[in-house]
Symmetry: C2
Subunit: 368 residues, 2 copies
């Protein structure tokens, strides 16, 4: 898709409607350098998205009388635009929380009597902890459902429990991707993710042989979109590892369940602050800066710590002045923010200080 859009800008050769029909655009956070541009026509945005999110809404037990607070930046990334628009159409009251500090968002959650809040696991933990520090614990608010997306956190048991305790609310995992849209939701049984099989055809394949694996075995999820007009995708490799369960769920649904949700990635992508990040994309940005050597480290702080990603770089040569490095770092941070959409902290190491690797490099460090 990325290549097609590079060769046939801006939309590539896989769109099935002309750009004049587009009413909403987004870009992916799968930042391998250049994001994929996503377009939706009116039918996809107002009818198909609505239908998808009604499965989510019923899955989580949200009712038209609920009040959804959306603590979101409303940028070019798809979440929570679609969720908000669909729930609004379904009669849920939306309280928009753009351009507000976390403190103000907490005040607004109380002031407007929100009953549902959405966010990345990282941000939900951060809001929860901020509320405690402010003496306004969110467990004391009317919120009874929090919906988490953008990172694997909400299906990681410890993270889910931490969020649920901070908020005094049930936490549901919401999955999907900008490219293929919103194919799965966690039900109130909280044992995994149902695929909306009326709108998506799902396969579970061995990532190497691309042969189907048996239910209960881990494989790569491959999806075909049965419902999209603008950019339908057939046998799309979403790169997520899953385990199929075709048994009837205790919630009563017969839709296929991905036990335990998304179990991991079949590639090296990681997620931070709701953004999908490929280390290769960061490498690409680093290697565009002549002042930096080819060595680097990416340090990912733990969920909810409120810390930035840290990028450690070295000067490319001893000729580079301190001012030259400062300027280069400044430009790099600007470019990182524009392309990867999160703000990094950059540390300048001494020349030769960063570890070198003879075989496969390990430059990605996860902090506990």
């Amino acid at each position: 898709m990325r290549e097609s859009q590079a060769q046939h800008p801006p939309w590539g050769d896989f769109m099935c409607v002309p750009p004049e029909e587009g009413v909403r655009v987004f870009q992916t956070t799968g930042t391998t350098g250049i994001p994929v541009k996503v377009m939706l026509n009116k039918m996809d945005w107002t009818v198909h998205f609505y239908e998808q999110f009604m499965h989510f809404m019923c899955g989580y037990g949200i009712k038209p009388s609920d009040i959804l607070f959306v603590p979101f930046g409303y940028s070019l990334y798809i979440a929570w635009w679609g969720f908000q628009a669909a729930l609004e159409q379904a009669g849920v009251m939306i309280v928009p929380g753009g351009a507000q500090s976390s403190q103000d968002r907490i005040k607004n959650i109380f002031e407007w009597g929100a009953t549902v809040v959405c966010g990345t696991p990282t941000y939900l933990l951060h809001l929860g902890e901020t509320g405690l520090r402010m003496g306004m614990p969110l467990a004391g608010s009317k919120v009874k459902i929090v919906v988490a997306a953008g990172e694997p956190g909400a299906n990681v048991r410890a993270t889910k429990l931490a969020i649920q305790e901070l908020w005094g609310a049930k936490c549901y995992d919401d999955i999907g991707s900008s490219e293929i849209s919103n194919f799965g939701f966690e039900c109130i049984v909280q044992k995994g993710t149902h695929v909306i099989e009326s709108m998506f055809y799902a396969e579970c394949l061995d990532p190497d042989t691309l042969k189907p694996v048996a239910p209960g075995e881990v494989g790569e999820l491959v999806l075909s979109n049965l419902c999209t007009e603008t950019m339908p995708l057939l046998r799309y490799r979403i790169k997520d590892l899953v385990r199929f369960n075709f048994d009837r769920c205790e919630c009563g649904r017969t839709f296929l369940r991905l036990d335990g949700g998304i179990l991991g990635r079949s590639d090296d992508m990681f997620q931070f602050a709701g953004v999908n990040i490929f280390p290769s994309a960061i490498e690409n940005l680093i290697r565009q800066v002549p002042e930096f050597s080819n060595e680097y480290q990416i340090v990912i702080p733990k969920f909810g710590s409120g810390k930035h990603i840290r990028i450690r770089v070295e000067p490319a040569s001893s000729e580079i002045t301190k001012e030259g490095m400062t300027q280069a770092v400044k430009g790099f941070i600007e470019n990182f923010k524009y392309r990867i959409t999160v703000t990094p902290d950059v540390e300048i190491a001494e020349m030769g200080e960063l570890p070198r690797f003879e075989l496969k490099a390990k430059r990605l460090i996860r902090e506990d």
Copy 2:
């Protein structure tokens, strides 16, 4: 309305539908201390707002093939939520510009080929000047229409011309209020604001006697909403001064035109960064801080200077330590940001330094 909501929280006693029917909420920027909460049901939000903004869209000459970039914070204030939602429904492609720096917004205006951009006059000037500084003049973009709202700038000839020159585009004034919604738009003739008379009944009255004034004479605009289910308002005094012209406009419309748009205010409210601010609201916040004396000055920078509002305060007594004042200022700024939603700069004057007034105080200073 404010009193009614204070007495009957949260919605007051003037709503005509129950809160369960609300799908969107906003709050006014008319910050006399506590904002008014505004609710819209699905009919008002998706049907009536759509109809209102279709008059705007046709008035400005926007077509479904246009691409609207919205450089907006997507907070609790109504603009540009309705404009965006209605234009999206009309088939215009929306590129959301929340949570981005001005530099990134300029890059995105070019990258996505935006043809229409909206903003406050202040912000449009700021973006225009930022583009020049970046070597990406917006006059070189595909933008051909800019829509300005939230401040009187776009009907002030010098400001309109400055915006048009920076953007190489036509600049149209978009008026309305959170309370009564979007009653008027400037047409391509650019001589004033048409009232959507099919949806609003307008009167022009003497602000003191409340008797009608003749066409061509300045009076206060009083509006009755003929179209709203959630909170219809009858004979609502919007506090704007206007001049009626019932002649057929050169654009062909027979809708009443307010010649020259909004000519001023019948009260002391001023507008800054798209926010309606009453000096009395600032006074109210200042007087909540025991460390501050009762004297203050409000310095409003000129349009597009990129400067903050400056609030000058004095210590209430010589007993107050420097640390005490610093803490008080910090709390005041937090409260100001939450209540008035713009960030002020606060200067601490020496005790007795600020001017005292024997008669009517002049504490509001506009910089040229």
